[in-house]
């Protein structure tokens, strides 16, 4: 059993609108279990695009992606949804919490979808995650009653609910002030240390990136330093 969580082989991606343009050039990247990786690069270098390919949400590419040594390229929509549900947790720049549900229910939702545990068990686990993130008091509030930093913490709890193989973040601190950014970093760092959680974070915050364990630098669609 090797330790690879994520692997790409000869990944190429083109944008066709307005003209054909190669965004990603021959990307080969391997992420091992327990790594805290950040992807940095200038705006438009393709780092977010790469993340969305790895997330299996964008399927329009050439090359191969393996998650946990399983080829995910060319799988059906339903199969990819299942892979995401089981293996990947997301934290975006925007929190994307559902305003119709309270905090606890928002965290539980991906767990209910996967239905690996009973509803009671999922609720218990969601509470545990909220407790770790010091959000247990807000569990029954609605998302619009929370501050930006709190919402992002709920989003992280939601990403953790299914014990994902890897957590992917697209500028998770992009909308936050320094204090909250540090807090989010600390949470991530703690996860790697305590739970050996694999993390892949796209950021343009160099300060944030330099504190991670491994920095992947991209320029013009290629990885120039890994």
């Amino acid at each position: 059993m090797n330790n690879t969580v994520l692997e790409t082989k000869a990944l190429n991606k083109y944008f066709n609108d307005p003209i054909r343009f190669q965004v990603l050039k021959n990307i080969a990247l391997t992420i091992n279990h327990g790594e805290f990786v950040s992807i940095v690069g200038k705006s438009g270098c393709g780092k977010s695009t790469l993340l969305y390919l790895l997330s299996t949400m964008d399927t329009d590419y050439e090359g191969e992606i393996y998650i946990h040594n399983e080829l995910v390229t060319n799988k059906s929509d339903a199969a990819l949804a299942k892979i995401r549900s089981e293996n990947i947790g997301f934290v975006f720049q925007f929190h994307y919490l559902l305003n119709e549900y309270n905090v606890l229910k928002n965290v539980m939702l991906p767990g209910l979808k996967l239905a690996k545990y009973s509803t009671k068990e999922i609720e218990h686990r969601a509470m545990e995650h909220l407790k770790t993130l010091d959000m247990q008091d807000q569990a029954l509030k609605m998302p619009n009653q929370l501050s930006g930093g709190q919402k992002q913490r709920v989003a992280i709890a939601r990403a953790l609910i299914n014990d994902p193989l890897i957590i992917m973040g697209d500028e998770p601190t992009g909308n936050l002030d320094k204090k909250n950014s540090d807090m989010v970093f600390d949470i991530f760092n703690q996860l790697t240390i305590e739970k050996n959680q694999t993390l892949l974070i796209v950021t343009h915050d160099n300060d944030f990136a330099h504190r991670t364990h491994r920095i992947v630098t991209m320029e013009d669609g290629s990885i120039i330093e890994s």
Binding site: A78, S85, Q93, F94, L98, E100, P110, L112, K113, L114
Partner: protein
Amino acid sequence: MNFKLILNIAFHLLQARLKQTVVAAIGVTFGIAMFISLVSFMNGLNDLLDGLMLNRTPHVRLYNEIKPSENQPINLSEAYKKNANFINSIKPKDRGKSIYNSKTIIKVLKADSRVVDVAPKINTPVFFNSGTIEISGIISGVDVMAEEKLFAFSDYIIDGKITDLTQNNSIIIGKGLADKMLLERGDIIKITTAKGNLASLKIVGISQIGIAEIDDVSSYTSLETAQKLLGEPTNYITDIQIKLYDMTTAPSVAKEMAATFELDAIDYQTANSQFETGSSVRSIISYAVGIVLLIVAGFGIYNILNMMIYEKMDSIAILKATGFSGSDVKWIFISLSLVIGVVGGLFGLVFGYIFTSIIDVIPFETAALPTIKTYPINYNPVFYIIGILFALFTTVIAGLFPALKASRVDPVEIIRGK
């Protein structure tokens, strides 16, 4: 697929847009309620008009038609058998209107499992004498009990009792006749039969069917009185009226009976084809209006779901990112639509019932229809089943396109767009 979770999400989305949801559901409610009211009312009306004819008309009537003999003497001649024979000035044969061996025929018919009951009848033209004026009319000699059983005859007696007909020399006359001759119950009416016999009968009732042509000429008496009037024996009858369990088989049964008993037979459908046409046209109109109303409601649902999708793009994106597949998202929106359809449809059924109940008590009195006091309504449960099926069908179709659209939302586009 986890339908409980999908339904739960659908309900929460609906709660967030409660006002629009209610408006959409009201659209369905209105459509179904109108559909139920319209169809119930139209069918009530159809039943009334059909009943008007049907109650007075047997499914099959056996009688002797006045017509020439089909087998002319020349056909018996061996010499001209192979020739085409032309015969001029044929006159109808006098076979008498009496049905030969009627008692046996009635006995056989009553034993037939397809037949509800049989009512013998004597129809004969007469003159009613009023002073010096003679008014032509028809006397129907009826078997009172059978007539009442098969044709609900007492519904059309506006004065008097049908059982009084069993008295000797009693008669019930049409309203038109009574008005013309200024007669009322208890009076004596003088009659001249076609053969010149004179008779005086006591009026025990006035009937009104609602069709002026009939009420102006018809009168009813018992079989015995009619036979006495005509000077005929007790086995004399001119018509045998038959009611069948299955009305639709009347044409074939009529043909079969005509052949068996060597009589002429006419079935209900042939005698009343124009009524059938009217009924089906009214039904088509009411269904068409109902469907149009539901299509309009469907457009309302389509609009609201479409709007909801644009509003909930973010939610759809994150659901997809966290493991919901396109088909899950599709089912969320179809269930949204179904919830609107079921709730709106059920309320529509309730309101439809209320509306029809209101119509049912609105007074509707017309001289032509003595037994009808309020607007007629048909409370057939089939209409309610059709109504709810319509509601579900239109809402699913209306929800399907927005749902497919939602299932195709690309989460990357939404999330990267922020």
